[in-house]
Symmetry: C2
Subunit: 125 residues, 2 copies
């Protein structure tokens, strides 16, 4: 049986929070074995747990805040927009990707595709 909408929402909220201040281990624990990551859409798809871990490890050292803006959940899948604010060298870089995720029956992420382009980033301060 597909994961419930409530379960999927919990996972999406956990994902957004952990991208902000979690470790790569914590983020990767949300993914199913065999999951894929395409971030941004159009880039090479990551297909191994090692690749996915390395991808999130690049975020570990950053001073980031995240918040979920909008989430739509249906058919056992999710599309959501979330804001990432990254402080670096006195400035704040703000990006709000739209992510699309699929899930297995336990609510583990089986694929993530992130829609954003360079032009979507805003710099504050």
């Amino acid at each position: 049986m597909a994961a419930s909408n409530e379960r999927i929402r919990e996972v999406v909220e956990a994902y957004v929070a952990l991208v902000g201040d979690g470790t790569a281990d914590q983020v990767v624990a949300l993914y199913a074995d065999g999951a894929t990551v395409e971030d941004p859409v159009g880039s090479d798809v990551l297909t191994t747990r090692e690749q996915i871990h390395a991808f999130y490890a690049t975020l570990e050292g950053l001073e980031q805040e995240t918040r979920l803006l909008e989430a739509r959940i249906c058919g056992g899948q999710a599309a959501f927009c979330f804001e990432v604010r990254t402080k670096a060298e006195g400035a704040t870089y703000v990006l709000a990707p739209i992510d699309v995720m699929t899930f297995d029956d336990e609510g583990r992420i089986t694929s993530m595709r992130a829609f954003w382009g360079e032009g979507d980033m805003r710099v504050e301060g």
Copy 2:
């Protein structure tokens, strides 16, 4: 060569506007031959031009306003959130789906998947 981001944004903006006050013929003209529509995600996928036309024809009689809220375009694809306000029987029904679209080289829509659930609709007035 894939359609440019600018071309894709034009098509997304035209789509949102036509869902609001266009005819089914006008909306379907944005689609490539062989395109598919899954709205909402999890429902049966429409695969013929006749099915897609019939789907948009149900919107023709409605008093609707639409506006694009957020769009992210990359890799020749788009994810965007738009608001649909439908007036009926003295109330306004507000829904803001997140749509994901792919495009052919000329910027015609080759697939559309709309993420929304019943619980995402809000009623005003």
